[in-house]
């Protein structure tokens, strides 16, 4: 009978097509499964469009719209600081010595602010195209907890020699400040190039780095600056995680402020760029001058604008909060699609009709994965497009994402739903009992994520998020994470430890393993 078993490729394809059609018919004729699939999509849409979030952008009349300044690279930025500056033309250098950096945090009551310097408080020298927010700049600085650094054009950040200023524990340092070891900083401009350097004694200089600022005009504003970003603290409260935070102030003490190598002038003026509610409002308020010593107080940050707890507004990932609910539904449907066959022995009929068991499994995976993908695509598209509008009309600021990112988010979400269903299908075929399989699928997908969000210490949490199937949520990350901006980059706000497609590959790996194991076991086991 070798003739019968020696099928040609075409016959194989036809056989698979028949099995696929059979499985599709099986799926679409069970009203409960179809309804559940639709319900999953509805859940995603409902959670994404719910008007729970409120914001104040645009709510208090014209002018209250949230339109952050835009930096030279096109990204949104925060640009608030205190500037002790003058206009200087051509090439030159400016030097200063930083002798102290202290700070204050809000919270603890308006009358009793807490003492402490946030790790990314900045004090140093700045050369900027103008006083307009978003203009190109380069700055060399001392920070509260990250040593000396050179930053330019908002997204670039270079570290200086570590160790001179002790690296403090990240997070708020109550009552702390830098040790009073003075540090020299120098900024030199030559055409479009700006070099930052630091020194312990003012004699031996170490270059931190060089910045190329295209578009830096001949006359630039140069001087001392101080700023201090929002501080954020994580709060664990039962099954909740949240962030507490608020503005902070920093005061830098400088002396030996001199210009050289072509720059001359002493007409320094204090100004507050990007006035903040909690900081000093005018230049005069922010400055204390005693002879050679200049004390500047500032609040704010010179950095890219981030979404989430520590920053402004949300990214478009916020509209997809319902994905987990949809994923659970997808897992249940995927599981039940196969365990229902074992309940009354339907599996025997199935294997009589299609003896190729792995083929049956593949057809099932294709049907349930395909269905989830299509419904997920529709739901995600609706929610990403409309959800942004709902949020914006509620006054919440939504960081615009490029269309390619939006497409990646939508397609990625649909693919995650599909793979989640396929993973559950594999588990169902392995375990055969609906209840155990559904629980295993849900616990596998949801519990690591939940624990990472609530109870686990940070490294364990991030490891778990890299390894478990929920890593695939990285496809939904729409905003980049900046290490030099202190914020809570939590999954809840749409930040994930892995790159989007890397995270997706993790889930794909899980699904592949489950499906392969199921195929192997299915072949060997009695039906």
């Amino acid at each position: 009978m070798t003739g019968a078993t020696n099928v040609t490729g075409l016959a194989d394809v036809t056989a698979f097509a028949n099995t696929l059609r059979a499985e599709w018919t099986k799926f679409r004729t069970v009203r409960g499964w179809v309804l559940a699939t639709v319900a999953g999509a509805v859940l995603i849409v409902v959670f994404g469009l719910q008007p729970g979030m409120q914001g104040s952008c645009g709510k208090n009349g014209p002018g209250s719209e949230c339109r952050p300044p835009v930096g030279p690279g096109g990204e949104e930025v925060t640009d608030s600081f205190t500037f002790f500056h003058q206009a200087l033309t051509g090439d030159g250098s400016v030097t200063a010595r930083v002798t102290g950096l202290t700070g204050q945090l809000s919270g603890g009551g308006p009358d009793r602010p807490r003492q402490g310097v946030v790790p990314w408080a900045k004090a140093g020298l700045l050369v900027k195209a103008g006083t307009g927010q978003g203009s190109t700049y380069a700055a060399v600085m001392l920070t509260g907890g990250h040593g000396a650094r050179l930053q330019y054009d908002y997204t670039h950040d270079l570290a200086g020699a570590p160790g001179a200023v002790p690296r403090l524990v990240p997070g708020v340092v109550p009552g702390g400040g830098t040790r009073n070891e003075p540090r020299w900083l120098r900024l030199s401009r030559s055409g479009d190039t700006v070099t930052g350097a630091e020194s312990a004694d003012g004699v031996r200089w170490t270059t931190i780095g060089t910045a190329r600022l295209a578009g830096l005009p001949a006359t630039a504003q140069v001087g001392l600056f101080v700023t201090s970003p929002q501080y954020t603290e994580e709060v664990h409260d039962g099954l909740a995680s949240g962030a507490m935070g608020g503005p902070s102030l920093a005061t830098g003490t400088f002396d030996h402020l001199t210009t050289g190598d072509g720059w001359t002038g002493t007409a320094w003026q204090p100004d507050v760029i990007g006035v903040r509610g909690d900081g000093p409002a005018t230049g005069a308020e922010s400055l204390e001058r005693t002879g050679d010593v200049v004390r500047l107080t500032g609040s704010g940050d010179i950095a890219p604008e981030v979404a989430g707890a520590g920053g402004l507004g949300v990214s478009i990932s916020q509209t997809l909060v319902g994905t987990f609910a949809g994923l659970i539904v997808a897992a249940v449907v995927g599981c039940v699609f196969v365990t229902a066959e074992y309940r009354r022995g339907l599996v025997r009929t199935t294997f009589l009709a299609s003896p190729g068991r792995a083929r049956v499994l593949a057809a099932k995976a294709a049907v349930v994965g395909g269905t989830m993908f299509v419904t997920g695509l529709v739901a995600a598209a609706v929610v990403v497009v409309l959800g942004q509008r709902v949020l914006r009309s509620n006054g919440v600021y939504v960081h615009p994402a490029p269309t390619s990112t939006e497409i990646r988010v939508i397609v990625g979400t649909a693919a995650v739903l599909a793979l989640g269903a396929v993973l559950a299908l594999g588990l169902g075929a392995l375990l055969r009992r609906g209840v155990t399989a559904v629980t295993a699928a849900v616990v596998l997908i949801v519990l690591p994520y939940l624990l990472a969000m609530t109870v686990l210490p940070a490294d364990a949490a991030r490891w778990l998020l890299r390894v478990s199937p929920a890593a695939a949520f990285a496809v939904q990350q729409a905003a980049p994470e900046y290490p030099q901006v202190e914020s809570l980059y939590t999954p809840v706000d749409g930040y994930f430890p892995l790159a989007p497609w890397a995270g997706f590959a993790v889930l794909a790996g899980w699904a592949a393993v489950a499906l392969t194991a199921a195929a192997v076991v299915l072949r060997r086991r009695d039906a």
């Binding site: 039962g238 949300v314 609910a325 624990l451």
Partner: protein, 264 residues
């Protein structure tokens, strides 16, 4: 004389009636208890409750380096979040398995008062889960005492956690009765217990967050575990447990009504 006789009669009748009623309750309870204790999967499930809870608590306690001010009793009782999944399975299977095999028809012919069937099942589930939960929580307390610094042992979180698990079991039973399917029941339950808190955390509006945490069965119920920082909680410890109790009672009532009215 006649009135005295009639009074005597009514008293005897009432006594007879209550005796008969109590006897029926005893029978329903006994039947459900026999059903449960002869289920082949029961020992494994109960063991899983204990092992899962204690193992997770031990892992978390060993891995964490708690800063001062951390809620230590709550940390030692983290395992309850895994144990609740197994308890949910137990509660769902108690009813769902009967529908799967069709045995529900036999049960309802043996005890036609359907509310009584559900009540008997609830009582049996509560007792069994309470026993397993007590062992599990005791294990967590031991873990906390061994692996965490002092003050990891506290009465209210421990007792509250046992009650929490019992209420989860009852909630599962009610939902399974309404849904009539084990797999769907487990899906609904796990979504309620695990996905709702995630959604609550993802909603950035603090008011909505607070509301969702106050009404979600898991987040409200687990408030009973909190010892320190009681002021930061979305809802007070015993109130939270009360919210979960409302969920459980509501599910059981809805299940009872559906069971009573629907064709078997």
């Amino acid at each position: 004389m006649r009135t005295a006789l009639r009074a005597e009669w009514t008293r005897a009748l009432r006594a007879e009636w209550t005796r008969a009623l109590r006897a029926e309750w005893t029978r329903a309870l006994r039947a459900e208890w026999t059903k449960l204790r002869t289920s082949p999967g029961l020992p494994a499930l109960l063991a899983a409750v204990v092992v899962g809870t204690v193992a997770l608590s031990a892992a978390v306690a060993a891995a964490s380096d708690p800063s001062p001010g951390t809620d230590l009793p709550k940390l030692s009782l983290t395992g309850v979040q895994l144990g609740q999944a197994v308890v949910a399975i137990l509660g769902v299977l108690m009813m769902g398995d009967e529908y799967a095999s069709g045995m529900v028809a036999v049960t309802l012919t043996a005890v036609p008062r359907r509310g009584r069937v559900l009540a008997a099942k609830a009582a049996v589930v509560a007792a069994v889960v309470a026993a397993a939960a007590a062992v599990a929580v005791a294990g967590c307390v031991v873990v906390g005492w061994l692996l965490l610094p002092a003050d990891a042992v506290a009465a209210r979180p421990a007792v509250g956690s046992v009650l929490y698990l019992v209420l989860i079991g009852l909630l599962s039973l009610g939902i399974a009765t309404g849904v009539r399917s084990s797999a769907a029941g487990v899906g609904v339950l796990l979504a309620l217990l695990y996905v709702l808190p995630i959604i609550a955390a993802a909603v950035a509006d603090p008011d909505w967050q607070r509301h969702l945490r106050q009404i979600g069965p898991a987040s409200a119920g687990l408030a009973v575990q909190a010892q320190a920082n009681a002021g930061d909680l979305a809802i007070g410890p015993w109130k939270g447990l009360g919210v979960l109790a409302l969920w459980a009672v509501g599910a059981l009532l809805a299940g009872a009504v559906l069971l009573e009215r629907r064709d078997a």
